[in-house]
């Protein structure tokens, strides 16, 4: 991210949002809303004094409830660019018109409370979407007690906890600040489950194994359980990593946990969280008393995925993620020419696969734009001007907005770069003026003769 930010050919627009997309491959027009951060990026040196001086402390969203931030903040220390933003909803100045501590202490006079929202319009040849995923919220699965028991946390929360610059400075701790002696990691929470997501989230097995390894490193004598349905160690070196963890003394239990409870049945269970499960390899019910439970939650489509898909005119697959043009032969393209996808917005995947797709998408985009002209599919429709009566029926029906009206000639005109060849216009044209190339009425009629006679 840092090297992308400093690359001379890349303009990074953070804290910005795409509002509108029009045009077509090679000629997209994109409207972007640049939100005010109330800090002048050209003056700020990222020294952090403002964040120290700000008197307001709130929960840091990025730390998922584990840490705090100020009302002027960067979400995490490595954020790019290293320029803070003022959170209007919590800043005393915006709420009550007083304070301005950050402004007073800023040596470069970078604070600008007057900054306004800006709208930019850019012209681009290709668009690559890498909008990623959301983490499944396990609250509805009440049997696991997330939100009810302090020490039941999600995989993403654990990830923040083990981060050296995270809210606990990399220490694995319970809510009361002490170190857990025993931890259970529950796989497939919300994935491979017909009640939530039928699909396998793909990365959870491996990040669960990574967690076990980190726990072993940081708390060498901890008791670690991994409860799995199947272990899917699919990548290069992954199976070997699993073997290594078995040697490190991690307890692998084949069985999905049924419940996490604090109701103790024996003295050893008192004060613990008890993971109730069936160990299917020994066909026995087990109760595992532990201090901490990590729920390896599913990766799911982002909450705004439907709006994003609509904005860029692309489709989604049954699981909700963006749909690729072809699962094997065209995995980073979409059915909208010039709009490419990479990473978890297309489906759950790990970093190596994300990077591979992102490289592929970048190469595809370069191949399209450096040519200077684009090749379009031959299956487009065209209008015979002599037959067109100018009724405009086709214009209102075209799902791709590819048809416009030529006022001088009083006929409709199809933009071949935008036409997808669906043929709806050809079917509807009352004068028979439109031909859908490769799917002409004559061709389909002959095909009917072929299949029926």
């Amino acid at each position: 991210m840092a090297s992308a930010g400093s690359h001379k050919n890349i303009e990074l627009l953070t804290y910005s949002e795409v509002m509108e997309v029009s045009g077509y491959v090679g000629n997209f027009k994109v409207k972007i809303k640049k939100k005010p951060r109330y800090v002048d990026e050209s003056k700020c040196t990222g020294c952090g004094t403002c964040q120290e001086k700000c008197p307001i402390k709130v929960d840091n969203e990025f730390d998922l409830g584990l840490g705090k931030r100020k009302a002027i903040y960067t979400p995490f220390p490595q954020a790019v660019p290293n320029v803070p933003v003022i959170d209007r909803d919590h800043c005393t100045y915006f709420l009550r018109g007083k304070c301005r501590a950050c402004e007073r202490f800023c040596e470069t006079k970078a604070i600008d409370f007057e900054q306004k929202e800006q709208t930019l319009e850019v012209e681009v040849g290709c668009i690559i979407l890498t909008t990623g995923f959301d983490s499944f919220d396990p609250t509805p699965m009440t049997q696991f007690g997330y939100g009810r028991y302090d020490n039941v946390i999600t995989s993403l929360q654990f990830e923040r906890m083990t981060n050296a610059s995270g809210p606990t400075g990399g220490k694995i701790v319970l809510k009361d600040g002490t170190e857990p002696r025993s931890i259970a990691i529950l796989h497939c929470i919300g994935s491979r489950d017909v009640n939530y997501h039928e699909y396998c989230s793909r990365v959870c097995c491996m990040h669960s194994l990574k967690f076990a390894h980190i726990i072993r490193e940081k708390i060498p004598d901890a008791v670690i359980y991994d409860l799995y349905i199947d272990l899917r160690c699919f990548g290069k070196g992954y199976e070997e990593f699993y073997n290594r963890l078995q040697e490190e003394g991690v307890n692998f239990i084949r069985g999905r946990a049924g419940e996490v409870t604090d109701v103790a049945e024996t003295p050893e269970e008192r004060g613990k969280l008890i993971v109730v499960c069936e160990d299917t390899l020994i066909s026995r019910q087990r109760r595992l008393p532990v201090d901490m439970v990590i729920l390896s939650v599913a990766l799911e489509p982002r909450a705004d995925v439907a709006e994003t898909a609509k904005l860029f005119s692309i489709s989604r697959s049954r699981d909700g993620f963006f749909l690729e043009k072809h699962p094997k032969l065209d995995p980073v393209a979409t059915t909208t020419e010039g709009v490419l996808i990479a990473g978890c917005c297309q489906g759950p995947k790990d970093i190596p696969d994300t990077v591979a797709q992102a490289s592929a998408a970048a190469a595809r985009a370069m191949a399209i734009i450096t040519k200077g002209s684009v090749e379009i599919e031959p299956t487009t429709a065209f209008i015979d001007e002599k037959l067109c009566s100018g009724c405009r029926t086709c214009i209102s029906l075209c799902p791709y907005n590819a048809i416009s009206f030529n006022e001088d000639k009083k006929v409709s005109v199809i933009n071949e770069a935008m036409c997808k060849g669906c043929g709806t216009c050809a079917a509807a044209c009352p004068s028979g003026a439109i031909t859908a190339r490769h799917f002409t009425t004559e061709q389909i009629m002959s095909e009917l003769e072929g299949v029926l006679i």
Partner: protein, 65 residues
């Protein structure tokens, strides 16, 4: 001999036809009674095509999209 209907299925390239294609690669079976005609969109299917199918002896027409 029992009656075997001949059905013409107009299938959209992006969904129904793709599904039929997928059924094929997944080695799933469907009766041979349906004769598939691929179109780029079910919107391409104009009434004349449906009437033509009946004229040529089809017992049913399926428009999938």
């Amino acid at each position: 001999m029992s009656f075997e209907p001949r059905i013409v299925g107009f299938m959209c390239n992006w969904c129904a036809y793709a599904a039929a294609d997928l059924a094929g690669t997944a080695r799933k079976k469907y009766p041979p009674n349906v004769r598939i005609v691929r179109v780029m969109c079910s919107g391409r299917v104009e009434p004349a095509l449906i009437l033509k199918a009946f004229e040529l002896g089809a017992d049913g027409v399926l428009v999938c999209g």
